[in-house]
Structure formats: C-alpha cells, structure tokens
Symmetry: C2
Subunit: 149 residues, 2 copies
C-alpha cells in the first residue's frame, strides 16, 4: 500500500517516527514534505502536496497521513478536495469508525496532543480496518461528492 | 451570537440537549435539522443546511455545531465549503486550539464517543475562545481559501 506522509513543523518529528515505523513494516512510504524542519512553514501546502499525490496515484488503496499541531488545519485543507475523506483521529476507536463508516482515505493526527506510540497505534488500526461498504455508507459518500462548493 | 445546530440520527439526542442548554444560556439557537429522529437519515444534508445558513448569516460571529456518530462525516461535509473551517473536537484543549489557531467557525462533535456534559464543556470552551489573529494564522487561513478544488 502506497502511503503519502505530510506534516508542518509541529508534525515534523512525528512524521519521521511514523515513516520509519511504517517502512520497517514494509509499507511503501512517500514523504511529501516538509522536507526539513522549518519553524514557520504552513500546513496547507503540505496537505495539498500529499492529497494531490493521492488523487494521482494508480494504487486504489493508496492513502495519506497528515500531521500538524492540533490536526485541525490539515483536516480542513484536505477536505477541500473532492474525493478526499479526511478524518482527524485521536484514538483507535475513532480511526476504526472513520474507515468502517466513511471509507476515510486521509488520516490527520494532532502531534501536540498525542505521543508517537499512540499515533502509531491509530495508524495501524486505521490501515487495518476495511470500509464496511454498507449501502447507506456508500450513499452518504456519494452525497459528499455531490455537495456544492 | 447566532448558533446553527445540525445533526443526523446519531447526534439527534445530543443536539436536543445542547440546544436546550445553549438557550438557557441566552444564545440564539437555530435548529437546522434533522427535525425528528429518523434512524436512516444522512449527515451530508444537515451539514449542508447548517453551513449554508452560516454563510448567509449577517451576524459575523455566527457559528455552527454539527453532530453525528463519530463526527467525521460532518467534518468532511462541512469542510467542502469555501470559508468554512470545521473542527472535530473531543476535548476542551482541542476546541481551544481550533478557535485560537484556525478561527474555526464550525464545531463537529462525536456523539458516540463523548457524553452530553463533555460535549457541553467542549462547546463552551469553543465559544469562549477568541481567534488569536496572529499574522501566521491569518496567512494559513488565506491559503485554505486559495486551495484548488
């Protein structure tokens, strides 16, 4: 599974930790920046880079992980894009719901509020949980794609 | 302050609780649906109704509160709209960050994962926290509005 990882300065260290852990688990990780720790870089550009890489990916199971301080900015930015279902998750239960019910394809993490091990357990649960595919869930995802701008 | 409240079936009871508590606190609450408990209603339409009411409101401080089971679907739907900064919050610290850093104008709540009193304390913190207005925060909000679709 192809995984695109993006973070601003607040998520930079957690991105490095997760990239290493996921590579050791034989995942195909692509770091879409920021490429170095810049204390005043801006989250929207890293959300955009990762999400556009996902939308252009040929792997239908490809996914994105985005990290900033609260996770909120990344989640706002990613959900601007049609076809993106970005979920901000703070524990494994929420990650499971986001995948099961909403077929989430972008995971946003709040680096200021969770530690690295919690982040990894959220990522592992999120990656391991399939979309349930129920008709009512599919109907709502279709409605998301039909919302006006 | 004008507050638009929306929820699907999973958030229906919490919406009723918050509407009552906020009215007792002299807030101007507008319930934008669902108007009755329908076990299979779909979150995107209630996100759309509340968000479009906010975007049309003349009160510059008007805000939206959206509730579904995990909060994820509402947050995905609301952030589809330009000018909306929807934050999914599970505790008061996260609500404070969403207002302070990102000038969040929509609060999404996960009814399956928090109780009513926790929800109310998140709402109170979110409503009471001003946007810090720092130049770097304003720059990022501007970038959000400039993202392609």
């Amino acid at each position: 599974m192809q995984l695109f990882l993006g973070a601003d300065h607040n998520g930079f260290a957690m991105k490095a930790f997760l990239a290493e852990a996921l590579r050791q688990d034989d995942q195909q990780v692509v770091d879409t920046g920021d490429e170095q720790l810049r204390p005043d870089d801006d989250f929207p550009q890293f959300a955009q880079s990762a999400v556009q890489a996902l939308l252009a990916a040929t792997d239908p199971d490809a996914k994105v992980i985005l990290i900033c301080g609260s996770g909120q900015g990344m989640c706002m930015a990613a959900n601007r894009f049609k076809g993106i279902r970005a979920s901000l998750c703070w524990d494994a239960d929420e990650a499971r719901a986001a995948r099961n019910d909403d077929d989430s394809n972008v995971l946003c993490l709040p680096a200021r509020f969770i530690d690295n091990q919690t982040a990894l357990s959220i990522v592992e649960t999120w990656l391991a949980t399939p979309f349930a595919g129920a008709a009512r869930f599919k109907r709502r995802i279709h409605q998301l794609d039909e919302l006006p701008e």
